[in-house]
């Protein structure tokens, strides 16, 4: 019983992490039809900031990581994405792939390819003891912060002017511009928010693993893609659902697979996602805007 509870908490924590990854990608995709490969590099940059900023109070570390991630996201948007904004999705995808590759190799060039280790916070690595179950504080904080962030994002998108403008832009960009929605500001806001999400995800990731490397962002962005595609490309709630499902399935597979083949867990996981996509090619949640109208 205790292992089941442990696994459920692990699944929730991992699912939250994947949901954060996926949301950053889905947000930009919804507005620009751009699948942002470079989201992984935002996570990498934030993680490096956490490690390189040295011995400062926890709050300063977090603030620095968030600030750096948002700034890099805004620069990325201004320099790399804006010139190609009106191109077809293929060009957009390859542009983001190129930006991702560029940032990775810049990190290798400047910082070296050997991984570095760093500790985010001593307090987070401890655990609670509830009865027979030992719950790591990090897991609890991950789930809590993610839920709070999701609630905040939902509020932002539904109640604030900029949020409503973003949703309008996601539904029909051209029409929104005709109605006076400032395109540049909306897109920049979206990139800024995805930078924030990347930074928060980076904090939890670094707290979990304790190391950073230039290729840190690769796996998160792949999981983000899988979660987004599973949940339905273009749907924010789909991305969150996809992230949680992926996290849950990953922990379940880890627990259920016999020891010999548990190394293939990721292969099974992605195979399962492909299987779901056979049955439902458009993903689990299909927003109205994704249906091609002829």
């Amino acid at each position: 019983m205790t292992t089941v509870i442990q696994n459920i908490i692990d699944a929730l924590a991992l699912g939250s992490l994947y949901a954060l990854f996926a949301l950053g990608v889905a947000l930009i995709f919804g507005i620009m039809r751009l699948v942002n490969f470079a989201h992984g590099e935002l996570i990498m940059v934030a993680a490096y900031t956490l490690v390189l900023v040295g011995d400062v109070p926890f709050v300063v570390k977090i603030g620095a990581a968030i600030l750096v991630a948002i700034i890099i996201a805004l620069i990325m948007e201004r320099v790399a994405m804006r010139p190609v904004r009106d191109s077809n999705p293929t060009t957009l995808l390859i542009t983001s792939f190129a930006v991702s590759y560029l940032l990775q190799n810049l990190a290798i060039l400047i910082l070296g390819s050997t991984p570095r280790s760093g500790q985010v916070s001593g307090a987070l690595s401890q655990s609670f003891q509830i009865g027979a179950v030992s719950v790591s504080k990090l897991n609890v904080v991950t789930v809590g912060v993610t839920l709070a962030l999701l609630a905040g994002l939902a509020l932002f998108l539904n109640r604030t002017a900029t949020g409503v403008q973003m949703r309008a832009a996601a539904e029909n960009f051209r029409m929104a511009r005709l109605l006076g929605v400032p395109a540049n500001r909306v897109i920049a806001t979206a990139f800024g928010i995805s930078g924030l999400l990347a930074a928060i995800a980076a904090i939890f990731l670094t707290a979990q693993t304790g190391t950073v490397s230039p290729t840190l962002g690769l796996t998160p962005v792949l999981f983000a893609f899988m979660a987004t595609v599973l949940g339905g490309l273009g749907s924010l709630s789909g991305a969150v659902v996809g992230g949680f499902l992926l996290g849950g399935a990953s922990v379940a597979l880890q627990a259920l697979l016999p020891v010999g083949i548990s190394g293939y867990r990721d292969a099974f996981l992605f195979g399962a996602v492909l299987l779901v996509l056979v049955l439902r090619p458009q993903g689990l949640i299909v927003p109205r805007t994704a249906v091609t109208r002829i």
């Binding site: 190609v84 590759y101 190394g263 293939y264 992605f270 299987l275």
Partner: protein
């Protein structure tokens, strides 16, 4: 497929092959240390042509095509490693594979066919998805293959991979394969099947309305592409001598995609020209990365510089000339060689036929 479509494809394909051979011969004038590089670059061109066969003809940006390079590479490696050393590297193989030892040509062919078979199986779920979703799903394919390669170490050698693959290929062998693949793709895209696939790239809804089964056409392109990429992977491991999971992952994917985009993603000529152009550019970048002397100045080497240069190249192309060098056009016969009306290319009716009596 009929003679007409093959003939239509012959001119441009021949021109590209000649261009490739000339470029390769030019590049191999030099110290013998460059030979390995030239071989690798020609193999990368084969990979680019293979990826074009699907991505360029169907418009689905499949970033995971290099998973078939891995399949082809490991197959060829397993088949060509001498039977004496094989059990030490990959003890988990079934007996008939442990004792098998083939030459380069049959091993490469089998590698391509195995990759094509895998593609046929995996294409069933993939081709039903929309273009963007399918492209992203192939990334998962790349990851699955990588995880399998790393974890099944009794069969693939794990993270260390296979080594000691006999390097028996000469420039002629590799160029021969390159010519074969270029001709294959040129003929394919001129057949009715290829034309249907390319029409679905331009406007999927219109193509569907004409009765074109987009799923079937994409499957054909996918399998052909997997065959060529598998052949490329087999040649790659035989040129390099080793096969590791990392050599079939993101660097080679990025390089091949760059070649396609710089050349022009919608044409075969683009794939070939982009590959040749970027091979030369990359060589220059690699020299700078290793540290060079420009006159009295010594520029120290920094690892990672060539990758940054390549990425900047690609970004510049995307911003300034997104259609690439060829802008999606193929090489065509120059006007003075074309039969028929020189201006429009329309066939001139037979001069000696009786004019139609007026009715």
């Amino acid at each position: 497929m009929n003679l007409k479509s093959a003939a239509r494809a012959a001119g441009p394909a021949a021109a590209l092959c000649v261009l490739l051979i000339v470029a390769a011969q030019l590049a191999s004038i030099g110290p013998a240390s460059l030979d390995q590089t030239v071989l690798t670059n020609v193999v990368t061109l084969i990979l680019a042509v293979g990826v074009y066969a699907f991505v360029g003809t169907s418009g689905v940006v499949s970033l995971g095509q290099m998973s078939f390079m891995a399949v082809g590479g490991y197959t060829a490696g397993i088949l060509t490693i001498p039977a004496a050393v094989k059990p030490f590297q990959v003890p988990g193989l079934p007996d008939f594979l442990l004792h098998a030892e083939m030459g380069a040509m049959p091993a490469t062919l089998i590698a391509g066919l195995v990759a094509a078979a895998v593609a046929l199986v995996i294409s069933q779920p993939l081709m039903r998805m929309s273009g963007l979703t399918a492209g992203l799903a192939t990334v998962s394919l790349l990851l699955i293959v990588r995880v399998l390669a790393q974890s099944a170490d009794k069969v693939t050698g794990g993270s260390a991979g296979l080594s000691g693959i006999p390097a028996a290929l000469t420039l002629t062998d590799v160029l021969g394969w390159a010519v074969v693949t270029i001709v294959l793709v040129a003929v394919f895209q001129s057949t009715a099947m290829g034309l249907r696939l390319r029409s679905s790239r331009e406007d999927e809804v219109a193509a569907r309305s004409l009765g074109i089964s987009v799923i079937r056409e994409r499957t054909v392109g996918f399998v052909l592409s997997a065959f060529i990429v598998g052949v490329g992977g087999a040649l790659f491991v035989q040129v390099i001598g080793t096969a590791t999971p990392d050599s079939f992952y993101l660097s080679i994917t990025f390089l091949v995609i760059s070649m396609l985009v710089v050349g022009g993603i919608n044409s075969l000529a683009g794939a070939v020209l982009g590959a040749i152009a970027l091979s030369f550019v990359l060589e220059i970048l690699r020299r700078v990365e290793a540290g060079t002397d420009v006159g009295p100045l010594h520029i120290p080497g920094r690892p990672g510089l060539s990758a940054v240069g390549l990425a900047l190249c690609l970004l510049a192309t995307l911003a300034l000339r997104p259609d690439g060098i060829t802008r999606g056009r193929e090489l065509s016969m120059p006007a003075f060689l074309r039969r028929g009306d020189r201006r429009t290319g329309a066939p001139i009716p037979d001069q000696e036929a009786e004019p139609e009596p007026a009715r």
